[in-house]
């Protein structure tokens, strides 16, 4: 399965996005940020890449600040 990852500046933002995605029934998981990606915030959100469009739309509508959305 292919995954995507959302990186944040703050864990508070990660928790907010996770809640929003889960309320839409999306499968996602908060994980420790992979060291090679960023050291900004210790928590990242992993999701299934097929949901990338929904994830991006949620980031847009909730105005939650993210550092990066990437495929892993």
């Amino acid at each position: 399965m292919e995954f995507g990852i959302v990186l944040f500046y703050s864990t508070n933002a990660a928790l907010r996005l996770e809640k929003s995605l889960r309320s839409q029934g999306l499968k996602c998981k908060l994980i420790p940020t992979p060291r090679q990606m960023s050291t900004d915030c210790g928590t990242a959100l992993r999701f299934q890449w097929i949901d990338a469009e929904t994830v991006n739309a949620s980031i847009e509508t909730t105005s939650i600040e993210v550092a990066q959305v990437a495929r892993i």
Binding site: Y9, L15, R16, G42, T43
Partner: protein, 387 residues
């Protein structure tokens, strides 16, 4: 021994809903990890508790972006964060004479250090703010208006929306001490025009002590804040400087997560019951108490307002009987727990003419009953005969 009638809810609410106590125990039993730091499942669950509490409080107080709410240990810390964090040399601040020392002392300290000019808006002897004097105190170019929402001494509610319009016209921000109102009275930052709201978790919100926060409205530039504390936030860990965004900028060090689990349960309890119905309950009890007190000879009621301007608190005194004596008798003989003295608000007592002896303060809560009010009135009547 007589059953206790707890009328000290303005100091801290009691009892707490059972769900609050269970939530605290459940957190330490089942989660117990540090939020936002470690990334493992328990750490994430702890983070969810904090986030849920943040969202729940933000919704209750009408703050659009929950991330603009920074938790801290109580309203005192929140007020200090706002006052020391935002005020700069030469700023003029208008405050009321009815403030608690958690507002007055940090303001007076900055005044004495020559940092700010402080204008105290006078009140009538009934504890009613003089709105013309408020306008004058703001003048043009005041930086901040800093006032309580409801007095911890008299229970009098200030017309916050009106004061906000006045403050904004003068170009000032409005800081509100919501210690006596959040969770007990309707508070909506957006419609009331509150820029900064300090609250505590252990009074109207029915959570444990050691919880509280500062809500920062969209009109305040968070880059202007100097945090009271700097330290670990779980974010921007590669940098040795404090992050500039909210809430991290104002939330250094591990939060009281167990306490916030309890606070969340308290807010959920309030939402299920409906804040309106709790307010109606407390309003009817305090009116019953005030009407009863009005009929007792040698008892003076200090600064009580009309129905819509009165929180669930009232201050009284007994002719020749000092508040401290009266409070002790109420406790020992009648099981009525009040708070006597100056209530950390010397300026307020000077305003209503009860300085330096203070008053006996009675404050109802969501669990207070009519029968308890009636028994309190009997106790007051018995004491008044000795005054």
């Amino acid at each position: 021994m007589k059953p206790v009638i707890y009328l000290d809810n303005a100091a801290t609410s009691w009892p707490k809903p059972p769900a609050v106590l269970e939530a605290i125990a459940d957190f330490y039993r089942g989660i117990g990890a540090n939020p936002g730091r470690s990334g493992h499942r328990r750490s994430v669950e702890a983070g969810r508790v904090v986030n849920d509490a943040r969202e729940a409080v933000a919704e209750l107080i009408g703050l659009g972006d929950p991330l603009r709410l920074a938790f801290c240990s109580n309203a005192t810390e929140a007020l200090n964060t706002a006052i020391h964090g935002l005020l700069r040399p030469g700023d003029r601040v208008a405050t009321s004479s009815m403030e608690h020392n958690s507002m007055m002392r940090p303001l007076r300290a900055l005044e004495q250090q020559g940092v700010i000019e402080l204008v105290v808006i006078p009140e009538s002897s009934h504890g009613v703010m003089d709105l013309d004097a408020a306008e004058k105190a703001l003048g043009s170019g005041a930086r901040l208006m800093a006032v309580n929402h409801a007095s911890n001494v008299t229970g009098r509610i200030l017309p916050i929306a009106k004061l906000s319009r006045m403050a904004h016209r003068a170009g000032a921000l409005l800081l509100v001490d919501g210690a006596q109102s959040v969770g007990s009275l309707p508070v909506d930052m957006e419609s009331m025009g509150i820029d900064l709201l300090a609250f505590t978790g252990h009074k109207g919100l029915l959570g444990p002590t050691g919880t509280g926060g500062l809500a920062v409205g969209p009109g305040v530039d968070n880059r202007e804040f100097r945090p009271l504390k700097r330290g670990g936030t779980g974010s921007r860990s590669e940098r040795e400087e404090q992050p500039d965004f909210l809430p991290d900028k104002l939330e250094s060090g591990t939060l009281n997560v167990g306490g916030l689990a309890g606070l969340l349960a308290g807010v959920q309890w309030l939402s299920e019951r409906g804040l309106d119905s709790i307010r109606r309950h407390e309003e009817s009890l305090i009116q019953r108490l005030i009407r009863g007190l009005e009929g007792v000879d040698r008892v003076t009621i200090h600064g009580a307002g009309s129905l819509d301007a009165q929180a669930g608190t009232v201050s009284i005194s007994f002719g020749n009987l000092s508040p401290s004596e009266a409070g002790l008798m109420l406790d020992e003989e009648f099981g009525v727990l009040s708070r006597v003295g100056l209530h950390c608000a010397p300026s307020a007592h000077k305003s209503i003419g009860s300085f330096p002896h203070g008053t006996v303060r009675l404050a109802v809560g969501p669990f207070t009953t009519e029968a308890e009010i009636d028994r309190t009135l009997e106790a007051v009547a018995a004491l008044a005969q000795r005054a």
